[in-house]
Protein backbone atom coordinates (compact mmCIF):
# COMPACT_ATOMS: atom_id res chain seq x y z
CA UNK A 1 0.00 0.00 0.00
CA UNK A 2 1.44 3.33 -0.99
CA UNK A 3 1.89 6.02 1.62
CA UNK A 4 0.27 8.41 -0.77
CA UNK A 5 1.77 11.64 0.49
CA UNK A 6 1.81 13.30 -2.88
CA UNK A 7 -1.61 14.78 -2.27
CA UNK A 8 -3.22 12.78 -5.07
CA UNK A 9 -5.27 9.63 -5.05
CA UNK A 10 -7.69 8.48 -2.38
CA UNK A 11 -6.81 7.84 1.23
CA UNK A 12 -5.71 4.22 1.69
CA UNK A 13 -8.06 2.07 3.74
CA UNK A 14 -5.69 2.16 6.71
CA UNK A 15 -6.31 5.88 7.09
CA UNK A 16 -10.06 5.41 7.28
CA UNK A 17 -10.01 2.49 9.68
CA UNK A 18 -11.25 3.64 13.06
CA UNK A 19 -9.58 2.26 16.14
CA UNK A 20 -6.28 3.47 17.40
CA UNK A 21 -5.79 7.04 18.61
CA UNK A 22 -2.05 6.50 18.59
CA UNK A 23 0.05 7.89 15.78
CA UNK A 24 2.80 5.43 16.74
CA UNK A 25 0.51 2.46 16.22
CA UNK A 26 -0.69 3.89 12.93
CA UNK A 27 2.87 4.42 11.76
CA UNK A 28 3.97 0.92 12.86
CA UNK A 29 1.15 -0.59 10.84
CA UNK A 30 1.30 1.70 7.86
CA UNK A 31 4.89 2.85 7.39
CA UNK A 32 7.16 1.17 9.92
CA UNK A 33 10.28 2.34 8.09
CA UNK A 34 9.59 5.87 9.38
CA UNK A 35 9.99 4.81 13.02
CA UNK A 36 13.32 5.90 14.53
CA UNK A 37 14.12 2.52 16.11
CA UNK A 38 13.32 0.39 13.07
CA UNK A 39 16.65 0.56 11.31
CA UNK A 40 18.62 -2.65 11.32
CA UNK A 41 22.35 -2.35 11.75
CA UNK A 42 24.92 -4.95 10.83
CA UNK A 43 25.65 -7.40 13.65
CA UNK A 44 28.36 -6.67 16.18
CA UNK A 45 29.01 -3.18 14.95
CA UNK A 46 28.79 -0.06 17.07
CA UNK A 47 28.12 3.27 15.49
CA UNK A 48 29.66 6.49 16.60
CA UNK A 49 27.41 9.51 16.33
CA UNK A 50 27.15 12.84 18.19
CA UNK A 51 26.00 12.43 21.77
CA UNK A 52 24.11 14.87 23.89
CA UNK A 53 24.87 14.80 27.57
CA UNK A 54 23.44 16.30 30.70
CA UNK A 55 19.81 17.06 31.53
CA UNK A 56 18.67 18.14 34.99
CA UNK A 57 15.19 18.59 36.38
CA UNK A 58 13.80 19.72 39.71
CA UNK A 59 10.35 20.09 41.22
CA UNK A 60 9.43 23.33 42.94
CA UNK A 61 6.32 24.53 44.67
CA UNK A 62 3.82 24.87 41.81
CA UNK A 63 5.69 23.23 38.98
CA UNK A 64 8.84 21.71 37.61
CA UNK A 65 11.97 23.01 35.89
CA UNK A 66 13.96 21.08 33.29
CA UNK A 67 17.25 22.23 31.80
CA UNK A 68 20.04 20.97 29.58
CA UNK A 69 23.53 22.02 28.54
CA UNK A 70 24.31 22.79 24.89
CA UNK A 71 27.16 20.46 24.03
CA UNK A 72 27.18 17.42 21.77
CA UNK A 73 30.34 15.33 21.55
CA UNK A 74 31.66 12.61 19.30
CA UNK A 75 34.49 10.82 21.03
CA UNK A 76 36.81 13.58 22.13
CA UNK A 77 35.52 16.12 19.60
CA UNK A 78 32.93 18.75 20.40
CA UNK A 79 30.44 18.07 17.60
CA UNK A 80 28.08 20.94 18.33
CA UNK A 81 28.16 23.83 20.78
CA UNK A 82 24.58 24.94 20.68
CA UNK A 83 22.50 21.78 20.42
CA UNK A 84 19.05 21.91 21.98
CA UNK A 85 18.11 19.02 24.21
CA UNK A 86 15.02 20.26 26.04
CA UNK A 87 11.75 20.39 24.12
CA UNK A 88 8.12 20.99 24.93
CA UNK A 89 6.24 17.69 24.54
CA UNK A 90 2.89 19.45 24.74
CA UNK A 91 1.38 22.33 26.66
CA UNK A 92 2.05 20.82 30.11
CA UNK A 93 5.08 18.64 29.68
CA UNK A 94 8.62 18.65 28.37
CA UNK A 95 11.24 16.12 27.48
CA UNK A 96 15.00 16.44 27.84
CA UNK A 97 17.24 14.04 26.01
CA UNK A 98 20.64 12.55 26.63
CA UNK A 99 22.14 10.05 24.24
CA UNK A 100 22.49 9.82 20.47
CA UNK A 101 21.47 13.28 19.32
CA UNK A 102 20.09 12.45 15.89
CA UNK A 103 17.89 9.63 17.14
CA UNK A 104 16.80 11.58 20.18
CA UNK A 105 15.64 14.58 18.20
CA UNK A 106 13.69 12.31 15.88
CA UNK A 107 12.17 10.56 18.85
CA UNK A 108 11.11 13.85 20.39
CA UNK A 109 9.42 14.92 17.16
CA UNK A 110 7.51 11.67 17.11
CA UNK A 111 6.62 11.94 20.78
CA UNK A 112 5.29 15.48 20.37
CA UNK A 113 3.26 14.27 17.42
CA UNK A 114 1.97 11.27 19.36
CA UNK A 115 0.56 13.53 22.08
CA UNK A 116 -0.91 16.04 19.65
CA UNK A 117 -2.41 13.28 17.51
CA UNK A 118 -4.12 11.69 20.49
CA UNK A 119 -5.50 15.04 21.55
CA UNK A 120 -6.93 15.74 18.10
CA UNK A 121 -8.45 12.31 17.58
CA UNK A 122 -9.88 11.93 21.08
CA UNK A 123 -10.67 15.54 21.88
CA UNK A 124 -9.07 15.15 25.32
CA UNK A 125 -5.53 15.29 26.67
CA UNK A 126 -3.74 12.21 27.99
CA UNK A 127 -2.99 12.05 31.71
CA UNK A 128 0.63 12.77 32.68
CA UNK A 129 1.12 9.07 33.51
CA UNK A 130 -0.30 8.20 30.11
CA UNK A 131 2.16 10.52 28.38
CA UNK A 132 5.05 9.04 30.38
CA UNK A 133 3.94 5.56 29.29
CA UNK A 134 3.87 6.51 25.62
CA UNK A 135 7.50 7.56 25.96
CA UNK A 136 8.30 4.18 27.55
CA UNK A 137 6.92 2.45 24.47
CA UNK A 138 9.12 4.53 22.19
CA UNK A 139 12.32 3.91 24.14
CA UNK A 140 11.59 0.20 24.45
CA UNK A 141 11.43 -0.08 20.66
CA UNK A 142 14.89 1.46 20.47
CA UNK A 143 16.63 -1.21 22.56
CA UNK A 144 18.28 -2.98 19.62
CA UNK A 145 19.82 0.33 18.54
CA UNK A 146 20.88 1.07 22.12
CA UNK A 147 22.79 -2.23 22.21
CA UNK A 148 24.86 -0.96 19.31
CA UNK A 149 25.76 2.30 20.94
CA UNK A 150 22.77 4.40 19.90
CA UNK A 151 20.99 4.83 23.20
CA UNK A 152 18.48 7.54 24.07
CA UNK A 153 17.86 8.22 27.75
CA UNK A 154 15.35 11.00 28.36
CA UNK A 155 13.86 12.79 31.32
CA UNK A 156 10.17 13.56 31.12
CA UNK A 157 8.87 16.40 33.27
CA UNK A 158 5.39 17.80 33.43
CA UNK A 159 2.71 19.48 35.44
CA UNK A 160 0.05 17.03 36.59
CA UNK A 161 -3.23 18.92 36.31
CA UNK A 162 -5.07 16.26 38.31
CA UNK A 163 -2.67 16.31 41.26
CA UNK A 164 -1.77 19.98 40.93
CA UNK A 165 2.01 19.56 41.09
CA UNK A 166 5.10 19.06 38.96
CA UNK A 167 6.41 15.53 38.39
CA UNK A 168 9.59 14.03 36.95
CA UNK A 169 10.12 10.65 35.27
CA UNK A 170 13.46 9.14 34.32
CA UNK A 171 14.06 6.24 31.96
CA UNK A 172 16.71 3.64 31.38
CA UNK A 173 17.64 2.22 27.96
CA UNK A 174 15.07 -0.56 28.21
CA UNK A 175 12.29 1.97 28.66
CA UNK A 176 12.00 1.23 32.37
CA UNK A 177 10.60 4.35 33.95
CA UNK A 178 10.71 5.59 37.51
CA UNK A 179 9.25 8.64 39.08
CA UNK A 180 11.81 10.80 40.89
CA UNK A 181 11.23 12.77 44.05
CA UNK A 182 12.50 16.31 44.05
CA UNK A 183 15.18 16.28 41.39
CA UNK A 184 16.76 14.11 38.74
CA UNK A 185 19.54 14.12 36.17
CA UNK A 186 20.51 12.01 33.18
CA UNK A 187 23.48 11.78 30.82
CA UNK A 188 27.21 11.57 31.34
CA UNK A 189 27.44 14.59 33.65
CA UNK A 190 24.44 13.49 35.68
CA UNK A 191 26.55 12.02 38.47
CA UNK A 192 28.05 15.43 39.24
CA UNK A 193 24.79 17.27 38.65
CA UNK A 194 23.00 15.01 41.11
CA UNK A 195 25.72 15.54 43.72
CA UNK A 196 25.38 19.26 43.26
CA UNK A 197 21.59 19.25 43.54
CA UNK A 198 21.74 17.00 46.60
CA UNK A 199 23.50 19.78 48.44
CA UNK A 200 21.45 22.67 47.07
CA UNK A 201 17.91 21.29 46.76
CA UNK A 202 15.21 22.28 49.22
CA UNK A 203 11.55 21.47 48.92
CA UNK A 204 10.34 25.05 49.27
CA UNK A 205 12.05 26.47 46.18
CA UNK A 206 10.42 29.08 44.00
CA UNK A 207 10.46 28.76 40.21
CA UNK A 208 13.23 31.35 40.09
CA UNK A 209 15.38 29.44 42.61
CA UNK A 210 14.74 26.13 40.88
CA UNK A 211 16.03 27.63 37.62
CA UNK A 212 19.18 28.82 39.43
CA UNK A 213 19.58 25.37 40.98
CA UNK A 214 19.40 23.75 37.55
CA UNK A 215 22.06 26.04 36.09
CA UNK A 216 24.29 25.49 39.16
CA UNK A 217 23.96 21.73 38.69
CA UNK A 218 24.81 22.02 34.99
CA UNK A 219 27.83 24.16 35.88
CA UNK A 220 29.05 21.47 38.28
CA UNK A 221 28.46 18.78 35.66
CA UNK A 222 30.49 20.74 33.09
CA UNK A 223 33.19 21.29 35.71
CA UNK A 224 33.89 17.56 36.00
CA UNK A 225 32.55 16.00 32.80
CA UNK A 226 34.26 16.86 29.53
CA UNK A 227 31.17 15.99 27.50
CA UNK A 228 29.03 18.60 29.26
CA UNK A 229 29.38 22.22 28.21
CA UNK A 230 29.32 25.06 30.71
CA UNK A 231 27.88 28.51 29.98
CA UNK A 232 29.80 29.86 26.96
CA UNK A 233 30.14 33.55 27.83
CA UNK A 234 32.27 34.35 24.79
CA UNK A 235 29.72 32.99 22.29
CA UNK A 236 26.73 33.80 24.46
CA UNK A 237 25.51 30.21 24.44
CA UNK A 238 23.66 29.39 27.65
CA UNK A 239 21.78 26.35 28.91
CA UNK A 240 18.16 25.91 27.88
CA UNK A 241 15.92 26.22 30.92
CA UNK A 242 12.20 25.50 30.74
CA UNK A 243 9.59 25.87 33.42
CA UNK A 244 6.22 24.11 33.50
CA UNK A 245 3.47 25.31 35.81
CA UNK A 246 -0.30 25.41 35.89
CA UNK A 247 -0.06 28.02 33.13
CA UNK A 248 1.75 25.60 30.87
CA UNK A 249 5.18 25.28 29.34
CA UNK A 250 7.53 28.26 29.17
CA UNK A 251 11.07 28.36 27.91
CA UNK A 252 12.98 31.05 29.79
CA UNK A 253 14.29 33.77 27.50
CA UNK A 254 17.98 33.79 26.68
CA UNK A 255 18.22 37.08 28.55
CA UNK A 256 16.87 35.54 31.79
CA UNK A 257 19.12 32.48 31.55
CA UNK A 258 22.16 34.63 30.75
CA UNK A 259 21.50 36.70 33.90
CA UNK A 260 21.40 33.52 36.00
CA UNK A 261 24.47 32.07 34.27
CA UNK A 262 26.49 35.28 34.57
CA UNK A 263 25.72 35.68 38.28
CA UNK A 264 26.73 32.05 38.89
CA UNK A 265 29.94 32.49 36.88
CA UNK A 266 30.77 35.66 38.83
CA UNK A 267 30.28 33.84 42.10
CA UNK A 268 32.44 30.94 40.94
CA UNK A 269 35.34 33.36 40.36
CA UNK A 270 35.33 33.88 44.13
CA UNK A 271 34.42 30.30 45.03
CA UNK A 272 35.30 27.92 42.17
CA UNK A 273 33.48 25.04 43.87
CA UNK A 274 30.25 26.95 44.17
CA UNK A 275 27.96 27.53 47.15
CA UNK A 276 29.05 25.83 50.36
CA UNK A 277 26.67 23.77 52.44
CA UNK A 278 27.03 23.65 56.24
CA UNK A 279 28.88 20.60 57.59
CA UNK A 280 26.18 19.73 60.04
Amino acid sequence: MEANLTGTGRLPAAFLTPGSSSFLDFLSAHQPELLPGRRTLPEGLTVEAPHGTTIVSAVFDGGVVIAGDRRATMGNVIAQRDIEKVFPADEYSAVGIAGTAGLAVEMVRLFQLELEHYEKIEGTVLSLEGKANRLTTMIRSNLAMAMQGLAVVPIFAGYDLDLGRGRIFTYDVTGGRSEERGFAATGSGSVFARGSMKKLYRDDLTAEQAATLAVQALYDAADDDSATGGPDLARKIFPIVSVITEDGFERLSEERVSQIAVSITDQRREHPNGPQAPLL
Binding site: A3, N4, L5, G7, T8, G9, R10, L11, F15, L16, P18, F23, F26, L27, H30, Q31, L34, R109, L110, L113, E116, H117, K120, I121, G123, D247, G248
Partner: protein
Protein backbone atom coordinates in the same frame (compact mmCIF):
# COMPACT_ATOMS: atom_id res chain seq x y z
CA UNK B 1 -31.73 -16.95 -13.29
CA UNK B 2 -33.40 -13.69 -14.22
CA UNK B 3 -31.63 -11.08 -16.29
CA UNK B 4 -30.90 -7.94 -14.28
CA UNK B 5 -32.59 -4.73 -15.40
CA UNK B 6 -30.46 -2.40 -17.45
CA UNK B 7 -29.83 0.90 -15.67
CA UNK B 8 -28.07 3.63 -17.64
CA UNK B 9 -24.91 5.07 -16.05
CA UNK B 10 -26.53 8.52 -16.00
CA UNK B 11 -29.47 7.14 -14.07
CA UNK B 12 -27.25 5.19 -11.67
CA UNK B 13 -25.20 8.30 -10.85
CA UNK B 14 -28.28 10.48 -10.53
CA UNK B 15 -29.77 7.98 -8.09
CA UNK B 16 -26.59 7.90 -6.02
CA UNK B 17 -26.41 11.70 -5.94
CA UNK B 18 -30.04 11.89 -4.88
CA UNK B 19 -29.45 9.31 -2.15
CA UNK B 20 -26.50 11.29 -0.75
CA UNK B 21 -28.36 14.61 -1.00
CA UNK B 22 -31.31 13.26 0.95
CA UNK B 23 -29.07 11.92 3.68
CA UNK B 24 -27.36 15.31 4.04
CA UNK B 25 -30.61 17.27 3.98
CA UNK B 26 -31.80 15.50 7.13
CA UNK B 27 -29.10 17.16 9.26
CA UNK B 28 -28.73 20.67 10.61
CA UNK B 29 -26.41 23.05 8.77
CA UNK B 30 -22.93 24.34 9.47
CA UNK B 31 -21.70 27.80 8.56
CA UNK B 32 -18.09 28.83 7.92
CA UNK B 33 -17.11 32.45 7.37
CA UNK B 34 -14.11 34.70 7.48
CA UNK B 35 -13.71 37.56 9.93
CA UNK B 36 -10.94 40.07 10.62
CA UNK B 37 -8.66 37.69 12.54
CA UNK B 38 -9.41 34.43 10.82
CA UNK B 39 -12.20 31.97 10.11
CA UNK B 40 -15.14 31.11 12.35
CA UNK B 41 -17.06 27.81 12.26
CA UNK B 42 -20.60 27.67 13.61
CA UNK B 43 -22.59 24.46 13.76
CA UNK B 44 -25.99 23.77 15.17
CA UNK B 45 -25.13 20.87 17.44
CA UNK B 46 -26.58 20.03 20.83
CA UNK B 47 -23.97 17.35 21.51
CA UNK B 48 -20.91 18.33 23.54
CA UNK B 49 -19.07 15.15 22.64
CA UNK B 50 -19.80 14.49 18.98
CA UNK B 51 -18.20 17.34 17.09
CA UNK B 52 -19.07 18.65 13.68
CA UNK B 53 -16.14 21.05 13.73
CA UNK B 54 -12.61 19.85 14.48
CA UNK B 55 -8.95 20.68 14.33
CA UNK B 56 -6.92 18.93 11.65
CA UNK B 57 -3.54 20.65 11.81
CA UNK B 58 -1.84 23.92 12.78
CA UNK B 59 -3.84 26.21 10.51
CA UNK B 60 -6.38 23.78 9.13
CA UNK B 61 -9.81 22.85 10.42
CA UNK B 62 -12.65 20.70 9.25
CA UNK B 63 -16.43 21.00 9.39
CA UNK B 64 -18.93 18.42 8.27
CA UNK B 65 -22.62 17.58 8.02
CA UNK B 66 -24.40 14.34 7.30
CA UNK B 67 -23.75 10.87 8.61
CA UNK B 68 -21.60 11.09 11.75
CA UNK B 69 -19.72 7.79 11.41
CA UNK B 70 -18.77 8.62 7.82
CA UNK B 71 -17.45 12.12 8.39
CA UNK B 72 -15.76 11.00 11.61
CA UNK B 73 -13.84 8.45 9.55
CA UNK B 74 -12.86 11.14 7.08
CA UNK B 75 -11.80 13.43 9.93
CA UNK B 76 -9.55 10.76 11.45
CA UNK B 77 -8.15 9.98 8.01
CA UNK B 78 -7.45 13.68 7.53
CA UNK B 79 -5.66 14.01 10.87
CA UNK B 80 -3.55 10.94 10.06
CA UNK B 81 -2.77 12.25 6.60
CA UNK B 82 -1.78 15.68 7.92
CA UNK B 83 0.31 14.35 10.81
CA UNK B 84 2.09 11.83 8.61
CA UNK B 85 2.80 14.45 5.99
CA UNK B 86 4.06 16.93 8.57
CA UNK B 87 6.28 14.25 10.09
CA UNK B 88 7.70 13.12 6.74
CA UNK B 89 8.30 16.62 5.41
CA UNK B 90 7.70 19.68 7.55
CA UNK B 91 4.78 21.30 9.32
CA UNK B 92 4.70 24.01 6.67
CA UNK B 93 4.08 21.43 3.95
CA UNK B 94 0.64 20.49 5.21
CA UNK B 95 -1.95 22.51 3.31
CA UNK B 96 -5.72 22.68 3.08
CA UNK B 97 -5.42 22.38 -0.69
CA UNK B 98 -3.59 19.06 -0.38
CA UNK B 99 -6.10 17.78 2.14
CA UNK B 100 -9.09 18.92 0.07
CA UNK B 101 -7.55 17.11 -2.87
CA UNK B 102 -7.20 13.86 -0.97
CA UNK B 103 -10.75 14.13 0.35
CA UNK B 104 -12.02 14.82 -3.17
CA UNK B 105 -10.28 11.75 -4.52
CA UNK B 106 -11.56 9.64 -1.66
CA UNK B 107 -15.16 10.80 -1.92
CA UNK B 108 -15.10 10.61 -5.73
CA UNK B 109 -13.78 7.07 -5.76
CA UNK B 110 -16.36 5.91 -3.24
CA UNK B 111 -19.15 7.71 -5.11
CA UNK B 112 -18.46 6.03 -8.42
CA UNK B 113 -17.62 2.58 -7.11
CA UNK B 114 -20.53 0.16 -7.46
CA UNK B 115 -19.46 -1.89 -4.46
CA UNK B 116 -19.75 0.95 -1.95
CA UNK B 117 -22.64 3.15 -0.98
CA UNK B 118 -21.96 6.85 -1.52
CA UNK B 119 -21.01 8.83 1.58
CA UNK B 120 -23.83 11.04 2.85
CA UNK B 121 -21.55 13.88 3.91
CA UNK B 122 -20.58 17.37 2.95
CA UNK B 123 -17.31 18.80 4.17
CA UNK B 124 -15.53 22.10 4.54
CA UNK B 125 -11.75 22.23 4.81
CA UNK B 126 -10.42 25.67 5.71
CA UNK B 127 -7.00 27.14 6.28
CA UNK B 128 -6.27 30.44 7.94
CA UNK B 129 -3.58 32.50 6.22
CA UNK B 130 -1.17 35.14 7.39
CA UNK B 131 -3.59 37.80 6.14
CA UNK B 132 -7.24 37.74 5.13
CA UNK B 133 -6.28 37.40 1.46
CA UNK B 134 -4.61 34.08 2.17
CA UNK B 135 -7.58 32.44 3.92
CA UNK B 136 -8.84 29.40 2.05
CA UNK B 137 -12.17 27.63 2.26
CA UNK B 138 -12.95 24.47 0.28
CA UNK B 139 -16.32 22.81 0.12
CA UNK B 140 -16.54 19.12 -0.78
CA UNK B 141 -19.65 17.33 -1.91
CA UNK B 142 -20.34 13.57 -1.76
CA UNK B 143 -19.46 13.03 -5.42
CA UNK B 144 -15.97 14.38 -4.86
CA UNK B 145 -16.35 17.85 -6.36
CA UNK B 146 -14.36 20.62 -4.75
CA UNK B 147 -15.57 24.19 -4.70
CA UNK B 148 -13.14 26.93 -3.74
CA UNK B 149 -15.31 29.30 -1.67
CA UNK B 150 -14.67 32.95 -0.93
CA UNK B 151 -15.41 34.41 2.52
CA UNK B 152 -18.38 32.26 3.50
CA UNK B 153 -20.09 28.94 2.91
CA UNK B 154 -22.98 26.97 4.38
CA UNK B 155 -23.34 23.21 4.14
CA UNK B 156 -26.16 20.87 5.10
CA UNK B 157 -29.93 20.89 4.90
CA UNK B 158 -30.85 24.45 3.94
CA UNK B 159 -27.45 25.55 2.75
CA UNK B 160 -28.75 27.47 -0.28
CA UNK B 161 -31.00 29.83 1.63
CA UNK B 162 -28.42 30.29 4.41
CA UNK B 163 -25.71 30.87 1.81
CA UNK B 164 -27.63 33.63 0.07
CA UNK B 165 -28.37 35.27 3.43
CA UNK B 166 -24.66 35.19 4.34
CA UNK B 167 -23.88 36.69 0.93
CA UNK B 168 -26.05 39.70 1.71
CA UNK B 169 -24.66 40.26 5.19
CA UNK B 170 -21.00 39.28 5.05
CA UNK B 171 -18.42 42.03 4.72
CA UNK B 172 -14.64 41.96 4.96
CA UNK B 173 -12.94 42.82 8.25
CA UNK B 174 -15.87 42.06 10.55
CA UNK B 175 -15.21 41.44 14.23
CA UNK B 176 -15.79 37.98 15.67
CA UNK B 177 -19.00 38.91 17.48
CA UNK B 178 -20.54 40.34 14.32
CA UNK B 179 -19.49 37.35 12.20
CA UNK B 180 -20.90 35.02 14.83
CA UNK B 181 -24.20 36.90 14.93
CA UNK B 182 -24.59 36.71 11.16
CA UNK B 183 -23.80 32.99 11.22
CA UNK B 184 -26.33 32.30 13.98
CA UNK B 185 -29.01 34.42 12.26
CA UNK B 186 -28.38 32.44 9.09
CA UNK B 187 -28.73 29.12 10.89
CA UNK B 188 -31.88 30.23 12.69
CA UNK B 189 -33.77 31.30 9.56
CA UNK B 190 -36.63 29.22 8.32
CA UNK B 191 -35.92 28.36 4.65
CA UNK B 192 -39.69 28.28 4.01
CA UNK B 193 -40.07 31.90 5.07
CA UNK B 194 -41.58 31.22 8.52
CA UNK B 195 -40.46 32.83 11.76
CA UNK B 196 -36.79 32.45 12.70
CA UNK B 197 -35.94 30.14 15.60
CA UNK B 198 -33.91 31.24 18.59
CA UNK B 199 -30.62 29.41 19.03
CA UNK B 200 -29.14 29.35 22.53
CA UNK B 201 -25.40 28.90 23.23
CA UNK B 202 -26.20 25.35 24.32
CA UNK B 203 -27.34 24.48 20.81
CA UNK B 204 -24.24 25.81 19.11
CA UNK B 205 -20.78 24.47 18.49
CA UNK B 206 -18.39 27.32 17.72
CA UNK B 207 -14.68 27.29 16.92
CA UNK B 208 -12.20 29.63 15.27
CA UNK B 209 -8.95 29.50 13.38
CA UNK B 210 -7.41 32.65 14.80
CA UNK B 211 -4.32 33.94 13.01
CA UNK B 212 -3.49 36.21 15.98
CA UNK B 213 -3.08 33.24 18.28
CA UNK B 214 0.44 33.03 19.65
CA UNK B 215 0.56 29.21 19.52
CA UNK B 216 1.46 27.21 16.46
CA UNK B 217 -1.97 25.60 16.55
CA UNK B 218 -4.48 28.26 15.58
CA UNK B 219 -7.63 26.27 16.25
CA UNK B 220 -9.65 27.10 19.33
CA UNK B 221 -13.12 26.17 20.51
CA UNK B 222 -15.24 28.99 21.87
CA UNK B 223 -17.07 27.73 24.90
CA UNK B 224 -19.18 28.71 27.88
CA UNK B 225 -19.08 32.27 29.10
CA UNK B 226 -16.96 33.51 26.21
CA UNK B 227 -19.54 32.25 23.73
CA UNK B 228 -22.37 33.81 25.73
CA UNK B 229 -20.61 37.15 25.80
CA UNK B 230 -19.94 37.06 22.08
CA UNK B 231 -23.53 36.14 21.30
CA UNK B 232 -24.86 38.94 23.47
CA UNK B 233 -22.86 41.25 21.22
CA UNK B 234 -20.39 42.30 23.88
CA UNK B 235 -17.52 42.81 21.47
CA UNK B 236 -15.19 44.44 24.02
CA UNK B 237 -15.46 41.75 26.71
CA UNK B 238 -15.06 39.09 24.09
CA UNK B 239 -12.03 40.86 22.67
CA UNK B 240 -10.50 40.96 26.15
CA UNK B 241 -11.06 37.20 26.42
CA UNK B 242 -9.35 36.81 23.11
CA UNK B 243 -6.42 39.05 24.06
CA UNK B 244 -5.90 37.15 27.31
CA UNK B 245 -5.92 33.95 25.32
CA UNK B 246 -3.48 35.22 22.71
CA UNK B 247 -0.96 36.37 25.28
CA UNK B 248 -0.82 32.96 26.96
Amino acid sequence: MSTPFYVSPQQAMADRAEYARKGIARGRSVVVLTYADGIVFVAENTSRALHKVSEIYDKIAFAAVGRYNEFENLRIGGVRYADLRGYSYDRADVTARGLANVYAQTLGTIFSSVGEKPYEVELVVAEVGRTGEDDQIYRLTPDGSVVDEKNYVAIGGSSDSIGSYLGQRHRGGMGLAEALRIAVDGLARDPNGGAARTLTPGQLEVAVLDRQRFQQRKFKRILGSQLERLLSGDETAAAEDQAADDSE
